[in-house]
């Protein structure tokens, strides 16, 4: 250590630097969102509550197999229908239940869905799912999955730039506060 840096270490310069950081943060725009008064608007890639479309579903069970905690319960049966005079067997959905209270919104079911556009998706931008009765309110059968309050149609494939964080104006690409110069 040179003499100059030793003498500098005697002065509380580092303390002043620390005070400068907190002093700068004091005047920064606050990150708080006053939740019940101001509702954050999620980005298109935000993984919210499920949407489901029975017409697109081909009953392949891929989503149920992909689910890591096995909360998608599917029941089906075969029906014979006539197409162009020929008899064909077709799978018909009896039940499509999701135990949403255990869901961790990983989105693997959406990735596993082979239809185009997908029959099950998470990008509905809804996050207000608190309920007083978990077994009744948070267990969704296929009718409720398609018609719950605030359900939105599948938005199509969203670009990665659209971001996932609520109220992040730069789509998750902004420098963190400590990186900002």
């Amino acid at each position: 250590m040179s003499l100059g840096s030793y003498l500098a270490s005697l002065l509380p310069i580092d303390l002043a630097q620390g005070l400068g950081v907190t002093g700068r943060f004091f005047f920064m725009r606050k990150a708080t969102i006053q939740y019940p008064d101001v509702k954050p608007v999620p980005k298109p890639r935000f993984r919210g509550m499920f949407g489901f479309n029975e017409e697109r579903c081909i009953v392949c069970h891929n989503c149920a197999k992909a689910c890591p905690i096995a909360i998608i319960h599917i029941r089906d049966h075969f029906e014979e229908i006539e197409v162009d005079g020929k008899k064909k067997k077709k799978k018909v959905l009896d039940r499509f239940d999701i135990d949403v209270k255990r869901c961790m919104f990983c989105g693997l079911c959406e990735e596993a869905c082979p239809t185009e556009p997908v029959a099950i998706w998470l990008t509905t931008m809804s996050y207000e799912m608190a309920a007083y009765e978990r077994n009744e309110r948070l267990y969704y059968d296929k009718e409720r999955l398609q018609n719950w309050d605030g359900v939105q149609p599948y938005p199509g494939v969203v670009s990665p730039e659209a971001g996932q964080l609520p109220n992040d104006p730069t789509g998750g690409k902004a420098a963190k506060p400590e990186e900002r110069r």
């Binding site: 303390l15 620390g18 005070l19 950081v21 907190t22 002093g23 943060f25 004091f26 920064m28 725009r29 606050k30 990150a31 708080t32 006053q34 506060p177």
Partner: protein, 350 residues
């Protein structure tokens, strides 16, 4: 003031009531501003729910503490346990009897005779202040011991060790001011700064720094808040206290912060004086009344307290002791020598 009843009973009583009320209000709102400023430094908003915009938060907190149950641990030393907060808060409030807030005045002509807005001007004011404020640590130690809890006891012991180490450099930095002012009375010290034409911060900036740092250590605040280090000692000496007992400790801590800020202002920053009190070019600053100058300076130091809390990590205990005995004590001694030489050569107060 012909009537001695008015002069010696009514006037001091009114002063005492006003000082205590203002002090308790300041201490309560200091906790509000602390939460608010800390929140702003962490880019949060802080308390803003109690109408309007959170300004009644301290009142709500006080009401909550009033109605809370006072739980006394089964194996606690009952009498000492209940006395602890009282011993802590009384010196913190008594000290304000000697702090001069403003010079004698008629309050913008409202009164016929000039009246001193401080309670007394003791000729050994600074000794009284140091002595009385040091009694407060008995409240910490006794409360910590009587709780019959290892965390409380550790907090109390740490507080005692910290106070003993930091009282010494604090005393030396005060002596530097006494050399320059040639008086022990706080009012005379401010008047000496007026005669000298500068705040004692300029000749004695080392003493001012050491005094304020030791003051932060004495009030058990960050970065010297070892007695109530949350990560090791739960809440330190007031772990077992609840309700109004806890509120007294809380109030005393904030009152002590106001004391240290006020004394720093009086000793080093010219009390109620404006900057450079003898420079005629700055006379327009006299528009601001002296009391407001005093309040502004005290407010600045209180802000510094909270600023430090928002910035610095806590010292380790051996680092704390090393800082007190190996840095502050020798530096304050050398500073005392330098200032003594200066007073001898340049000539101190006449």
């Amino acid at each position: 003031m012909a009537n001695p009843w008015i002069a010696y009973l009514v006037v001091p009583f009114v002063k005492i009531v006003v000082i205590l009320l203002v002090l308790i209000l300041v201490a309560a709102y200091l906790s509000f501003f602390e939460r608010k400023i800390l929140a702003y430094m962490q880019i949060r908003v802080g308390p803003n729910r109690v109408w309007p915009r959170g300004w009644l938060q301290p009142i709500a907190d006080a009401l909550k503490l009033f109605v809370k149950e006072i739980v006394i641990p089964a194996r606690a030393e009952r009498l000492v346990y209940l006395l602890g907060p009282v011993i802590m808060i009384i010196p913190a409030l008594v000290v304000f009897s000697v702090i001069p807030f403003a010079p004698e005045g008629t309050f913008f002509g409202l009164l016929k005779q000039p009246i001193a807005p401080y309670l007394t001007d003791v000729n050994i004011g600074i000794l009284f202040l140091l002595g009385v404020s040091s009694v407060g640590v008995y409240g910490v130690i006794l409360g910590g011991w009587a709780s019959n809890n290892k965390f409380s006891l550790m907090g109390g012991l740490r507080s005692a060790a910290q106070l003993v180490s930091y009282e010494v450099p604090m005393g030396f930095s005060v002596v530097a001011v006494l050399l320059m002012a040639n008086s022990l009375s706080l009012v005379k010290i401010v008047e000496a700064q007026k005669n000298a034409g500068v705040w004692y911060f300029l000749p004695g900036f080392v003493a001012a720094f050491i005094y304020f740092a030791c003051g932060v250590a004495e009030t058990n605040r960050n970065p010297f808040d070892l007695p109530e280090a949350e990560s090791e000692l739960v809440a330190g000496f007031h772990t077992e206290y609840s309700g109004m007992n806890f509120a007294f400790y809380f109030l005393a801590e904030y009152a002590n912060m106001v004391v240290i800020s006020a004394v720093t202002t009086v000793l080093f920053f010219g009390g109620w004086l404006r900057p450079f009190p003898n420079v005629a070019a700055l006379a327009f600053l006299d528009v601001i009344p002296p009391f407001v100058w005093f309040a502004l300076k005290v407010g600045f130091f209180l802000y510094c307290y909270i600023w430090f809390r928002g910035t610095f990590p806590r010292y380790r205990f051996d680092q704390l002791m090393a800082l007190g005995w190996k840095v502050f004590l020798p530096v304050s001694l050398v500073n005392l020598l330098v200032i003594g030489l200066g007073v001898l050569l340049i000539g101190g107060p006449r």
